[in-house]
């Protein structure tokens, strides 16, 4: 089985770094971008197994990013990471992970999402 490819979209550098450091050693191939449009352009050129996106970002917010991803790749698995206290994942997202999260929590969410494929 090839390494799962994960795209992380978050405007916070520290969060992007956390994702890379938590997921990379576990064998995932991680790409990170700081905004929605960059993520969408990457998505067009290469396929990802899971897309992890923040909700509150300058310019295009997470909800818009999810809507656009699903319009070009309807089968995308999306995990939302947010600092907001939301119970339900936004429409179109598979799971929601509240910040601050631990590496274990992130890995669990990724594994669960991959298993649901």
């Amino acid at each position: 089985m090839s390494r799962a490819r994960i795209l992380v979209i978050d405007d916070e550098d520290i969060v992007r770094r956390c994702c890379v450091r938590a997921l990379g050693p576990e064998g995932y191939e991680v790409d990170v971008v700081s905004d929605g449009p960059s993520g969408l352009s990457l998505l067009g050129s290469s396929g990802y197994d899971i897309i992890v996106t923040d909700l509150k970002m300058p310019g295009m917010d997470g909800h818009e990013v999810i809507r656009r991803i699903l319009s070009v790749a309807p089968n995308s698995r999306i995990i939302v990471i947010t600092g907001f206290d939301t119970d339900q994942p936004p429409h179109g997202a598979y799971a929601v992970l509240h910040k601050p999260f631990t590496p274990v929590a992130l890995l669990s969410a990724i594994s669960a999402t991959l298993r649901s494929k």
């Binding site: 601050p100 999260f101 631990t102």
Partner: protein
């Protein structure tokens, strides 16, 4: 009135005196005619001595003072007083003797001061005079002389005196009586009613609406008084009505003012909490990013730290624990400000409170707390998030227990009530026997991070989060506290079409 009496007396006096004078004049005329007829024969036959004798005798008749016969020459020819014979007669007699014109009897004062009536009448010739042998008079002249009779007018004087006294007395009595009667009539029908009316108006003007004018007559004044009394009664009734309206209006204004003030305070409080919530949410959200970094890297560092480096691992655990503590505070803040609606079901508030109490009673700090329940039977179900309501109830009870230092009484009552906006509501009242909340703290208890608990014991987020939850359910939390007596929290929740509970709750 005196003038009127005098005038009346004078008129009456003159009238009566005129009648008396006329009577005396008539007497004089009668006497004159008698004399004339008595002397006629002697005159025709020229018996002068007989005429003089007759005159002297006739003058003795009562009231007759003097009888004179005046010739056409104007001199006294015969007189009952011989000394006057040949003397000039008075003017009236001369005129009567001269041309025979009748003279009005004259009342005059005699030389002795007595009042007398002097009456002169012409002696007119008759047929015998022209044919007699004695002394012939040629026919033609109107008068052959005059007969003058002077009679006493004493009767006139005494009667006049009596008359004067009588008329004056009568006038005085009459005018006094008339004056008195007029005065009585004016007093009875004008002055007294007017005085009473004036008094009534004065009393009315001074605000005494109970005063009644004591006039019960059937005339116009009586009608005026009864109309006035009715007007005063009407005014009193209107004033009472106005006062009642004014009182009602005042209490309505006071009530509305209170409501507006309370609504304003609530609005200000709600807006203050809402803006605090927005700020807290913003801060919380921003803090979560660096906390993610701290938590992630602490975990990564801990994972690659050799197991025998116990101290390093403990230090990293401390970092992880404190970061998670921070995350907990932030979750609380976000809970206070969260906007998303939770999943709601029909909740039986009595059962929910019961389950909250049973959870708490297992903890040792609740062993000395006495719970008293006073639940309403058939309490309507409320459409709510039961987990969140549970959180609110637990939070308020825990605060009460902390305030009472784990020892005291908590009374929990539920009831159906009316929301301030008129909707159907239910409410749960949780009252403790604690020390109460100081007035200066009461307005801050729903503000995030406000706490009176010792450092490390309370986050100051329990009540703000509870408040946020109840507000999101369309309800309100009302706090009443009395220092030294305790505090009560009323959690008010609108039903929003909830049905009645199916089972009675014990």
């Amino acid at each position: 009135m005196v003038c009127f009496g005098l005038a009346f007396s004078v008129i009456l006096y003159n009238y009566e005196r005129g009648i008396l004078v006329t009577n005396i004049q008539n007497d004089a005329r009668f006497a004159s005619d008698m004399v004339m007829h008595a002397l006629r024969r002697d005159m025709l036959e020229g018996r002068r001595e007989e005429i003089s004798r007759m005159l002297k005798e006739m003058v003795h008749a009562e009231g007759v003072r003097e009888i004179n016969i005046i010739g056409t020459s104007g001199k006294v020819t015969f007189s009952s007083t011989p000394s006057k014979e040949g003397a000039a007669a008075d003017a009236a007699s001369i005129i009567a003797a001269g041309d025979g014109r009748q003279q009005a009897p004259l009342v005059e004062t005699a030389g002795d001061g007595a009042e007398v009536l002097r009456y002169s009448t012409a002696v007119r010739p008759d047929a015998g005079c022209f044919s007699g042998a004695c002394h012939y008079h040629a026919p033609g002249p109107q008068s052959m002389g005059a007969l003058q009779i002077v009679i006493s007018a004493d009767r006139l004087s005494s009667s006049t005196r009596r008359l004067a006294i009588g008329t004056v007395a009568y006038g005085a009595v009459f005018s006094t009586a008339v004056f008195g009667a007029i005065l009585f009539i004016i007093y009875r029908f004008v002055t007294r009613p007017m005085t009473l009316m004036a008094e009534g108006m004065k009393r009315l003007a001074s605000g005494d609406l109970d005063y009644k004018i004591p006039i019960n007559t059937k005339d116009e004044i009586g009608l005026l008084a009864s109309t006035f009394n009715a007007m005063a009664t009407d005014i009193k009734a209107y004033r009472k009505k106005l006062e009642a309206w004014a009182d009602e209006l005042q209490s309505e204004v006071d009530k509305k003012t209170r409501e507006i003030t309370e609504a304003h305070e609530q609005m200000v409080g709600a807006e203050k909490l809402a803006s605090l919530g927005r700020m807290a949410a913003g801060v919380a959200h921003e803090l979560n990013n660096p906390l993610t970094g701290v938590l992630t890297f602490a975990h990564l560092l801990k994972d690659r730290t050799p197991k025998d480096r116990i101290e390093d691992i403990e230090d990293l655990d401390a970092i992880i624990q404190q970061t998670e503590r921070c995350a907990g505070i932030i979750r609380g803040l976000l809970g206070f400000a969260r906007k998303t609606s939770a999943e709601r079901i029909e909740v039986n508030l009595n059962e929910l409170i019961d389950s909250s109490i049973s959870i708490l009673q297992n903890q040792s700090k609740f062993h000395n707390i006495k719970f008293k329940k006073n639940f309403a039977e058939r309490l309507p179900l409320v459409h709510a998030d039961s987990n969140q309501l549970h959180q609110v109830i637990l939070n308020i009870i825990q605060n009460a227990v902390d305030a009472m230092d784990n020892n005291g009484r908590i009374e929990i009552a539920t009831r159906e009530a009316k929301c301030p906006d008129g909707r159907r509501c239910i409410e749960a009242e949780i009252a403790d026997s604690g020390p109460g909340i100081m007035a200066e703290h009461l307005g801050k208890i729903f503000e995030p991070f406000f706490t009176t608990k010792p450092v490390g014991k309370g986050t100051g987020l329990g009540l703000p989060v509870s408040y946020g939850i109840i507000k999101r359910h369309g309800g309100d939390i009302v706090v009443r506290s009395s220092v030294g007596k305790g505090t009560s929290f009323r959690i008010i929740l609108p039903l929003d079409g909830a049905a009645l509970a199916q089972e009675d709750v014990a």
